[in-house]
Amino acid sequence: MRLPSESKQQLFLKSLLPENPVLHSGLGVMLAVAGTETSSQAFFLGSAALALILLTSLVSALAYELLQKRTPLWLLVALASLAIALGRRLFGGRLDELPPMTGILLYLLAVSPVIFARARGMTASTTVGRALFDAAGTGTGLVAVLACLGLARELLSRGTAGSAGPLFQPPAPWMGTMLGGFVSCAAAIALFRLARERSGP
């Protein structure tokens, strides 16, 4: 819930943590489970999602400010899919270094609700600046959760952290499988709820 009285910084911080897209709303669970096999994969997909969230929010907010109309979802999806196709041409070589499902997951961003939720929910009642801060908070929150999950899974399953070579014998190689994705994501959401309860209303 966003209030008109909230400042841009408050919007950013609210989207970043208390109303984090993955931990609070469950948006982007697909990325948190399937796109966090390694920290570099998580960071790549998170960055792509952040760029798309900013793009769709900017277009949606501009359209509302100039035309006083909500941008239809199909137009935002078409825009996102064109942006991903362009991004794939530019950064396609990078995909070879990442786990095999990364290319498919990148394509799936074009139909992921986490990309369009803020653009559809925020822009009808606010300015371009506020919409961008809200989108930046949502995107940064998504990147942060994906990066943390990716790093944890990579450390436990491979004993590595990004480009840092083997640091220790991996204690839980199964964390590199889809099982690790489910368990780590479920644990993150449960811990988030516990932390919110402890911190009070």
Binding site: G26, R88, M178, R193
Partner: protein
């Protein structure tokens, strides 16, 4: 059916489930699996979407490759997915309890992901892609129904509220993954 196609069907069922094998979980899956009564139409909807999308997507992919337009394949897939959604929404309109008209309440991530995987693995064979997709579609159906059944049982019997919703859904997916991997290891 030849042995190869049967093996592909089994591989699709056991190892290419969009939900628990690939982790392609649509946001709509949580609400759809709250009650088994809602899960059935959602499972059928997702299954039919995969079955329709894959052969059409394969033909689209082949056409785009022939025209040298493979770099814009994603917008074309998305357009095709929109058409499949429209067609199936008309079919499911008599069920008002299932809010399929809401744009997010669709299995798009799972359908597109399963379709891209099948097309990618069988780029030169439509039957192979369609059979793998049939296995994935059946697996999607089974997983949605099983998860809904168990969620209703565990969430109404004193499960901690911290584990209700997404955590219980994901942990059930984890259990299904273990079960199907175990079954698959016997057949490998």
């Amino acid at each position: 059916m030849s042995d190869t196609l049967l093996q592909t069907l089994l591989a699709g069922f056991l190892f290419s489930s969009p939900l628990f094998s690939l982790g392609l979980i649509p946001g709509s899956a949580l609400a759809a699996t709250e009650r088994p009564a809602h899960a059935w139409p959602y499972a059928v909807y997702g299954m039919l979407s995969v079955l329709l999308f894959v052969p059409l997507g394969w033909l689209l992919n082949a056409g785009l490759a022939r025209l040298g337009l493979s770099s814009v394949d994603l917008p074309c897939y998305v357009l095709l997915l929109w058409g499949v959604n429209r067609a199936l929404s008309r079919l499911f309109r008599p069920r008002p309890e299932l809010p399929l008209q809401r744009p997010y309440f669709r299995a798009n991530c799972a359908v597109l992901g399963a379709g891209l995987l099948a097309i990618g693995r069988f780029a030169d064979s439509l039957p192979g892609a369609a059979v793998l997709a049939a296995g994935s579609a059946a697996s999607f159906f089974v997983s949605v129904v099983v998860i809904a059944h168990f969620r209703e049982r565990i969430e109404t019997r004193g499960l901690s509220h911290r584990l209700a919703g997404w955590p219980s859904f994901l942990l059930l997916c984890a259990l299904l993954w273990v079960a199907f991997e175990g079954l698959g290891s016997l057949l490998r």
